[in-house]
């Protein structure tokens, strides 16, 4: 099983990942930060950045938070939303510690891993986003980077 992971040390907040995501999903021929499933939050003064994106975490609190059990994980480990069940309550949005789920235009948006070949990973010039096997020595590194995403978030977004 592979996971998407973000390393702030390599990120330049150029936002090309956002462009890659929205071009790849191309909702209505528009490019928009809002409909991207990955967004970069940055703090120029502190030269810090963090990605808001689903990292296919083991705990998946979004699934448990959903009052109507509309969320599940599929074979790729990505979160799948059953839109026929979803009541757009935003519980999953609030539950995600990575800010990886959004409710935009009455629809839940979460990374779909571009069906196994994430465009943001392909296009990131500095390899700040990678899609790596969650096994062996990678496990510890992925967990560290996941924790870093959570722990640095407040520092990045605080004014």
């Amino acid at each position: 099983m592979k996971k998407l992971i973000f390393d702030s040390n390599l990120c330049n907040w150029c936002r090309i990942c956002t462009l890659a995501c929205t071009l790849n999903h191309a909702p209505g021929n528009v490019i928009s930060n809002k409909t991207s499933r990955i967004r970069i939050r940055f703090n120029k003064e502190k030269t810090l950045s963090v990605a808001e994106v689903c990292v296919q975490c083991e705990e998946a609190p979004c699934i448990g938070a959903c009052p109507v059990s509309a969320l599940s994980k599929d074979g790729l480990g990505r979160i799948v939303v059953d839109n026929s069940l979803c009541i757009r309550c935003g519980s999953c949005v609030k539950a995600c510690p990575y800010h990886g789920i959004t409710l935009v235009n009455d629809r839940i948006l979460v990374c779909d891993l571009c069906d196994g070949d994430p465009a943001c990973v392909r296009w990131c010039p500095f390899k700040a986003i990678s899609y790596v096997e969650f096994s062996g020595e990678n496990v510890e590194r992925i967990k560290q980077l996941q924790n870093k995403m959570i722990n640095t978030y407040e520092e990045v977004v605080s004014i």
Binding site: N12, C14, R15, L23, N29, K44
Partner: protein, 633 residues
């Protein structure tokens, strides 16, 4: 019935702010403007030509200050560029400056392609532009702040740390002609004194933020072109260099060519025992982050440095490139890197642009010759390499304190005060020559002579020797090679993509051709306007000529398309006791250039028929009405 135009790629609107009338209005982008000038620098130069009051004072309040994005701003790889334009106070002619960061992206997302500021406010203000709304806000509490102070304060005030701030520091407030507009803390729109124009209008900052979407005409085609652009970059060996050390490799390149402008242009080469202290490798030791660049950047020409200095304590300087450092380091005979970094940091905080380094170098030479006396400098001992003196002076310049006033009107002000300085000043059309010495690379640096904003490396940036292989191996061929680079660079400025990524870092003729083709494809698929490369190059040509026509109205002629006197008269000592001879074939090159660009050879005035063929009849008529064509036989 009112026709509402659909816009793809472009935001579709120009925002006009008149500070004297306290009014804000927006007008739709006209399709003729798009077709003729494409965007960015093209829009800015056209608006400037049309709206500047030629007879009025250089700093007349009615003169516009223009912020222009391009059709590919916020869309293409390495695209987050912005042109800031106005009549330049420092050169007194056409002025514009190009800057990165995220301002262009945010302005477009806020719904505007161009912002035009006219008039002058009575009290300090800043503009807050957010998702299709704009307001003029009081800035009394911000006046007097340095660049980092005001940037921080404004991000807090608008409550969004991802907003983009273009501001001035004390130098701009005090209308010092070397003042830059600084974007996002550390990116300077330098040269031509745009910060002074902003300060004169009493605008401390423009803050923008947008979440609007951009519509793409053919998203699948655009995506394909985007992927192709990335694959071109990945193939380029220069991309690796850019990512490894940014533009700082140029310190080494220019020294290897003996092209560093040392002691105000008297030498071009540093021997290894000295150069080792300031070479790319030495600089890289202070580098703290592997990458650093603008929006959608594929290279990263700048670097962030942390310095733990005995004299200045611990400090950080972010997004510093080659040109932000060289004029404040060995150009002043300073070989202590930490002092160079600190000089750059001071300029950034005070909102001074790096051309001030070249002015200090000139003053150091005048001081050496006894033309400038210590008493005039408030007792500062302005000897070569005196970093302490430089730092004291930089503060005095920004605050127009005592000897700082000598620098208030830039290089031309120094020459006015000390007429003897004219033979030492390294400038063209009043703009300090910041890049390398023209004597070391002739075809490449012919650009300083014909650039519409003075001695300039960014008007034709790319490997003209590579491109030149398409043309005959003689002087006309060399000029044609130069012109191909000038055309592409101008087009890059119209689209507002990065000159470095799209031209300067090009390492083969094949890559040059690929980039040219992909730019057209990106433009057409994004906008649906459907222009050919020839159409786009005509727009670039139109832009070059409207800028030239503007300068002609201010009195510039062929004699102003020249090089610094020192480059034309003195040989340049380089490695091993050898010399680069003086630049001798300028006139021959100019004749060829004028002929190819449809400019009158005798006067340097764009020919009537050329302007008409380019659809610029009104410019030809304007020049005619002013009696300018009487000079053309």
């Amino acid at each position: 019935m009112l026709m509402v135009m659909e816009y793809f790629g472009y935001a579709g609107k120009i925002l006009y702010v008149d500070l004297s009338k306290n009014s804000i209005r927006q007008v739709p982008l006209e399709s003729s403007l798009i077709r003729d000038f494409v965007g960015g620098r093209g829009f800015a130069s056209k608006i400037l030509y049309d709206e500047v009051d030629v007879e009025a004072d250089v700093m007349a309040p009615q003169n516009p200050l223009i912020f222009a994005t391009g059709p590919l701003s916020d869309l293409a790889p390495s695209s987050s560029r912005l042109t800031i334009a106005a009549r330049s106070p420092s050169t007194r002619i056409h002025g514009d400056s190009n800057v990165g960061g995220l301002f262009a992206s945010e302005l477009k997302r806020a719904g505007y392609d161009v912002l035009v500021i006219k008039g002058k406010s009575e009290k300090p203000v800043y503009l807050w532009i957010n998702d299709g709304r704009a307001e003029i806000r009081d800035a009394k509490h911000l006046w007097g702040m340095t660049v980092p102070e005001v940037t921080k304060a404004l991000l807090k005030e608008v409550g969004d740390r991802e907003a983009s701030v273009a501001c001035i520091g004390p130098a701009g407030e005090n209308i010092v002609y070397s003042a830059a507009v600084i974007v996002d803390f550390d990116r300077a729109a330098s040269k031509t004194g745009m910060g002074a124009v902003m300060g004169n209008k009493k605008v401390k900052a423009v803050v923008v933020r947008g979440e609007n979407e951009t519509r793409i005409y053919d998203i699948q085609r655009f995506k394909k072109a985007f992927e192709e652009a990335i694959s071109i970059y990945e193939r380029e060996p220069t991309t690796k260099i850019g990512r490894a050390i940014g533009s700082h490799f140029l310190h080494d390149t220019h020294n290897a060519h003996g092209a560093l402008i040392l002691k105000n242009g008297r030498y071009g080469y540093l021997p290894p025992e000295v150069f080792k202290n300031v070479c790319a490798e030495a600089i890289n030791r202070y580098n703290v982050k592997s990458t650093s660049g603008c929006g959608y950047c594929y290279l990263g020409c700048t670097r962030n440095f942390v310095i733990d200095s005995k004299r200045h304590g611990k400090f950080m300087i972010t997004h510093l490139d080659y040109y932000g450092l060289a004029p404040l380091l060995y150009r002043l005979d300073i070989f202590d890197l930490e002092e160079g970094f600190y000089n750059a940091k001071l300029c950034e905080e005070l909102g001074l642009d790096m051309t001030v380094g070249q002015q200090i170098a000139l003053m150091m030479e005048l001081y050496e010759h006894g033309i400038v006396k210590r008493e005039e400098l408030d007792g500062i001992d302005l000897t070569w390499g005196n970093a302490d003196a430089v730092q004291t002076l930089l503060k005095k310049i920004a605050y127009k304190d005592g000897a700082g006033n000598i620098f208030a009107e830039g290089l031309l002000g120094i020459i006015k005060r000390y007429p003897e300085a004219s033979k030492y000043a390294i400038h063209v059309k009043g703009m300090d020559n910041i890049p390398q010495d023209a004597r070391a690379s002739r075809t490449y640096n012919f650009r300083y002579a014909v650039s519409t904003r003075g001695a300039d490396h960014m008007r034709a940036s790319g490997l003209s020797s590579l491109v030149g292989t398409m043309f005959p191996k003689d002087l006309p061929g060399a000029v044609q090679g130069f012109m191909a680079v000038e055309s592409l660079t101008t087009l890059i400025n119209l689209l507002e993509v990065c000159t470095w990524a799209w031209s300067a870092y090009t390492s083969s003729l094949e890559a040059f051709k690929d980039k040219e083709r992909v730019l057209v494809e990106l433009y057409n698929s994004a906008t649906g306007v459907n222009l050919s490369i020839d159409d786009l190059y005509r727009a670039a040509w139109r832009t070059l000529l409207i800028e030239r026509a503007e300068n002609v109205r201010y009195g510039l002629r062929r004699k102003d398309d020249t090089l610094p006197e020192r480059f034309l008269k003195e040989p340049l000592p380089t490695e091993g006791g050898k010399f680069h001879p003086p630049y001798t074939d300028l006139d021959d090159r100019l004749n060829i250039y004028y002929r190819e660009r449809g400019i009158d050879e005798k006067t340097g005035i764009p020919k009537k028929e050329t302007l008409k063929a380019l659809g610029l009849n009104y410019v030809a008529e304007d020049l005619n009405r002013r009696g300018i064509y009487m000079e053309v036989s």
